[in-house]
């Protein structure tokens, strides 16, 4: 029983990280109806920035917030420069552009920082919090950070005029433009926010999986699975899905199928959800008129 509880809680901790990345995916999906294949590499690149800042002697939390801001700027720039020209292009071109971004970010990181695996510090103390035996403090901290990000986002979209404008631009671009919202910039802001959230996920996962240019491949897949399970157009669903996938992956990996097949769980979930219930648990059902 102890082992089971331990696995569930560990699953919640990694699930929090999947949830953040899933949230980033949903952000971009809501604004543009695109799924960003480069989201994981963006997060990885941001984590490397944090790593070099920390190595240069910047204190952890200063580096953390600086990285989040830099990731935001990077996201905005990428939307403006790279995504903008293919806004109305066929899906294949857009997917190819995302894939191009993925390989460019991956190789540029490898080029600058080499492919050797690096350790990444955790901001949380070594010894377990509150004397509990189930979770390390990094795991608790990662969950906490996810929840804080989620609350901040909720507050931003619910209570600020800018958040309202962004929601409007995503839901009905034409009408928003008519009432004076700069829809193009709202999309860019959405990209920036998604990149910022992704960077948080990267910095939270790096102490667990270590830092290397390919660290996000599997995590991105779990995040996809989480976003799809929860419903790709529902932020709360994505967060729930992320936690669910984390727990499922850990428990199944530990007790049923073994660690080697963990990624297959994501594959089965993705294909299963897409074929059986494409809207996910909490997503809107789309009806197309022909």
């Amino acid at each position: 029983m102890d082992a089971f509880i331990h696995q569930v809680l560990a699953g919640l901790a990694t699930g929090g990280i999947y949830a953040s990345l899933a949230l980033a995916l949903v952000m971009i999906y809501q604004a543009t109806h695109l799924v960003n294949f480069a989201q994981g590499e963006l997060a990885m690149f941001a984590t490397y920035i944090a790593w070099s800042l920390i190595n240069a002697g910047v204190p952890y939390w200063a580096a953390f917030f600086l990285t989040v801001m830099l990731a935001f700027v990077l996201g905005v720039i990428i939307e403006r420069v790279v995504i903008r020209p293919v806004e109305n292009a066929p899906v294949l071109s857009v997917v190819v552009v995302f894939i191009a971004l993925l390989v460019i970010l991956n190789s540029v990181t490898g080029w600058i920082f080499t492919y050797t695996i690096k350790t990444f510090p955790s901001p949380f103390p070594e010894q377990p919090l509150f004397g509990n035996k189930y979770m390390s403090s990094h795991e608790i901290g990662a969950i906490g950070v996810t929840l804080v990000v989620l609350l901040l986002l909720y507050a931003f979209f619910r209570f600020t005029p800018l958040g309202l404008a962004m929601r409007a631009a995503a839901q009905n671009p034409e009408s928003s433009r008519l009432v004076g919202i700069r829809v193009g910039w709202m999309l860019a802001l959405g990209w920036g926010l998604a990149a910022a959230i992704g960077s948080v996920a990267g910095m939270m996962v790096a102490p667990i999986v270590f830092l290397d240019p390919n660290m996000m491949g599997g995590i991105l897949l779990y995040a996809f699975a989480g976003a799809l399970v929860g419903g790709i157009d529902n932020p709360w669903g994505a967060v729930f899905g992320g936690f669910l996938v984390g727990v499922l992956e850990n428990v199944l990996g530990a007790f049923v199928i073994g660690n080697e097949l963990k990624l297959a769980v994501a594959l089965v979930l993705i294909i299963g959800v897409l074929t059986v219930k494409p809207s996910g648990l909490f997503g809107k059902v789309h009806v197309t008129r022909v």
Binding site: L92, V96, I99, V103, N106, S107, V108, W111, L228, A264
Partner: protein, 324 residues
Amino acid sequence: MSRNNLIVIAVVLAAACVLPLMVSEYRTFQFTLVLVYAIALLGLNMLTGYNGQISLGHGAFYAIGAYCAAILMDKYGVPYWATLPVAGAVCLVAGFLFGLPALRLEGLYLALATFALGVSLPPLLKYHHLEQWTGGVQGISILKPDPPEFLNGLGIALNQDQWLYYFTLAVTVAMFLVAWNLLRGRIGRAMIAIRDNHIATETMGVNNAMVKSLTFGVSAMYTGIAGALGAIAVQFVAPDSFNIFLSITLLIGIVIGGLASIQGAIYGALFIQFVPNIADDISKAAPWAIFGLFLLAFVYVLPAGVAGAIRMGMARLQRKRQNP
């Protein structure tokens, strides 16, 4: 086909035939890989270029074909040439089965599902219950085939690399002929029509579901046969050589070569085989950075790829000739 086209094809084929006699063994091996990639790209192009179904996981079918060949040769002593039909058949079935759920997915979602397939296959190949066949992380080494005896009787002395090149060339020509025939006929037109307007196609009485999943199957078959040939040429299969970047390489090949173009497969294959070699001199990470930049440049400037550029150039030349 016009007479000019036939002449061009004959010249290219003749050049391909004398090529291994002119270059070193290593270059011959590289050109064998070009042919292998050309078959794989042709398969992916059928699916993505002609039928409009995006696959980011075709490396998985390449891997299945490669493992089929390696397992049959290593464990069961099957001759190398006999592994190709088996690899093709296995991938045809695998592709068809994957194509069935893929029917319900469009555009982006299909890209996602196939991406998941491409990412999760290498760990599956390492799975310890399959290790007695797949060899786990170590993979399987196989022997390079010798040229057949009767060639010596005819007084033709080929080394192993040259023989394998000619063998692959023959397979490639056959596969291209079959693809050309398939794509210009009724099924090919149905594939293109589904890509352009699937509702109209359905109304015209085409069985969309059947054509789409069959296209998936045939496309996987091509890529699988390429995988088997690739395994024989490289003499080695291991899970990590079939990671998601292989699938991405294939996608890069068809975008650069030209979507919905048969000859595009050859340009794409030359690109993905030789550009990394050149770029490797700059840095270990450079090939991928260059791939990425090329991809972006092609999407923005030349969405029809090299094949499209050539087509455009020819058309312009012809116009000049007609009214100088």
